[in-house]
Amino acid sequence: MEFEVVIGLEVHVQLNTKTKLFCSCPTSFNEKENSNTCPTCLALPGALPVINREAIHKAIQFGTAVNASINRYSKFDRKNYFYPDLPSGYQISQFYKPIVENGYIEVNGRKIGIVRAHLEADAGKNIHESNYSKVDLNRAGTPLLEIVSAPDLRSSDEAIEYLKKLHSIVRYIDISDANMQEGSFRCDANVSIRPKGDTKLYTRVEIKNINSFRFIQRAIDYEVERQIEAWEDGVYEDEVIQETRLYDSVKNETRSMRGKEESADYRYFPEPDLLEVYIDDETLETYSKIPELPDEKAERFQTELGLSEYDAKVISSSIELANFFEEMINSGASVKNSVTWLTVELLGRLNKNNLPITSSPISSSKLSDLVKAIDNKTISGKAGKDILDYLMEHDISVDEAIEKLGLKQVNDDSAILKLIDEVLSKNSDKVEEYKQGKTKLFGFFVGQVMKASRGSANPQKVNELLRSKLS
C-alpha cells in the first residue's frame, strides 16, 4: 500500500524583546542563575503580570509577514501543569483567542497554512545532575510566539523547507534571533500517515526536543517509518497512539515520553490577572509596515539586478547574506562577480570552516574591494582566489594582500612583451616547430609566459601579444 505523510509543525520563536513578557526582567542569555528574576516571574503570591507592549508589536509584524489576520482583541489563558521550571504551576498562554490567525506562507509554490500564532511565557531551565536537578528561572517569562502550521506538509523535505522559510522570515522582520542552538527557535512535529487518497487524518504523534534542521528531518523520517511498519505489520492500532515522543539524536529514534496521558489535561481557563488585549488602529498601522521579505527580495534581485532564480534564492535565504550582497553592490562591485565571489568563493570557504556569514573574517566591503580589483583587471580571477585564501587567515586590506603576494596583474604591454621574448628565446627549438605547423604548441608558450609572470600577467593580453609575435 502507498502512504501519504501528514505533518504539522509547532514552532516556538523566542521574541528578541529586551524584557520578559509579563515583567521588566531582562531576557539576556548566559547570566548567573536566577539573577534575572523578580516576584512576578518567580510567581510569588500577589505579584501581577503586566504585558510587554513590544511583544504585541512583534506579533503584529509576524502576522503581517505571514498574510494572517491580526485579532484586534485577544486574550490570555492559563495552561495548568506541574513542573519544577514552572514556578506558578501554570503557563500564561493564549488558547481561546490568539493574537494571530489564518495565515500562510509559500513553500516551493505551495501554500502552507498557519493556523495560529499566539504569545506565551517560556518556562525556566532544569539542569539535571546525577541524583537531583537544579532550576534556573532566568528564562521563565521570556516571550515566545508559538506558530502552529496546518497539517499541510507532505514530506520531511517539505517540513524543512517550511521551517527554513519561517526562520528566514522571523530574521528578516527582526522579531527573534532564531538561534536553534541557544533554543530561541524550537520545533515540535506532529506526524501521521494515511493510505494515499484517504482524506481523513489518522492518529498523530507529537515529537519534541529537536533542535536542528537535520534532526527534525531524521526524527520525522524515523517516525514515518515506524508508523508505516506498524500498519504493514497489522499492529497500527496498538503501536501508534496519540502521544508525545522524544527524539534521541544519538540513537536516531523516537520513544514514548509520557506514560499517562492523564497529566496532559491542562484545564485551560481565562487568565484572571489580565484583561483582554486591544490593538488600536494606530498600533496596527505602525506595526503592519514590515521590511522587504525574502521572496520579495529574491524577486527584486531577479528583475532589478538580473540574477538567476537560483542565485536570487540562495542570496535572499538569509537577511545577513542578502545585506552582505547589497552592501557589495552599493559600494560599486559588479553584480555578476559579486554573486560568484560571494556564493561560490566566500561561502565555500566559510562552509569548509563551519562559519556562518555573520562570523566571516572578510567583511562585505573587503570582498567588494576584491571584486572591484577583479572587475577592473588589477588582478586575475585566479589571483583573486589566492588573495581570498590569504585574507581568510590575515586581517589586512585587499591592496596590501595584492602587494604582499605580488599578484598585481600585469596589463602593461611592454612588460608582457619582455616576458614573451624571454620565453621565446629560451625555447627557440619549439618556436621553429611551431612555425613549421605544430600550432598546438601555442598553449605551451602561453603557459610558460604565465608561469614566468607567476600568474600575474593578464592572460588575454598574453594571448594577443604572443599571437602577433609568432605570426
Binding site: 536566577n34 528574576t37 537531583y132 534556573d136
Partner: protein, 95 residues
C-alpha cells in the same frame, strides 16, 4: 454536578494533592456544593451577548520594554528556598 470517587481521584492526580480517606466524603460534598453554587449562573440568559472574560470595559494596560531588575531579589528567594546550590534551586531529580 456531583463529584464522585473517580472524579476526586482524577483531581487528586491533577493537583498533586492527597485527600485522606476519612476526608473524602466531606470533600466530595463540599466540591459538589461549590459547583452547584456556580451553576446558578446558568440561569442567566446570555444568548446574543458577546463573549466576555471580564466585567470591566477596559483593556490590559501595556508596559514599555524597559529593563528594571533588582539582582538581590532572585538571590534572596533562592537562599530562602528549602534546598539550593550556588544560585540554583535544587529539586528532586526529574528525569
Amino acid at each position: 454536578m456531583v463529584i464522585d470517587d473517580k472524579l476526586l481521584s482524577k483531581l487528586e492526580e491533577l493537583s498533586h494533592l492527597k485527600v485522606a480517606p476519612e476526608k473524602r466524603e466531606e470533600i466530595k460534598e463540599e466540591l459538589s456544593n461549590i459547583l452547584n453554587f456556580v451553576e446558578n449562573l446558568n440561569q442567566l440568559d446570555t444568548d446574543g451577548l458577546p463573549d466576555k472574560f471580564s466585567m470591566r470595559d477596559t483593556y490590559s494596560h501595556l508596559r514599555d520594554d524597559n529593563i528594571e531588575v533588582d539582582k538581590n531579589i532572585g538571590k534572596s528567594v533562592v537562599e530562602n528556598s528549602p534546598k539550593y546550590q550556588d544560585s540554583s534551586f535544587v529539586v528532586p531529580r526529574i528525569v
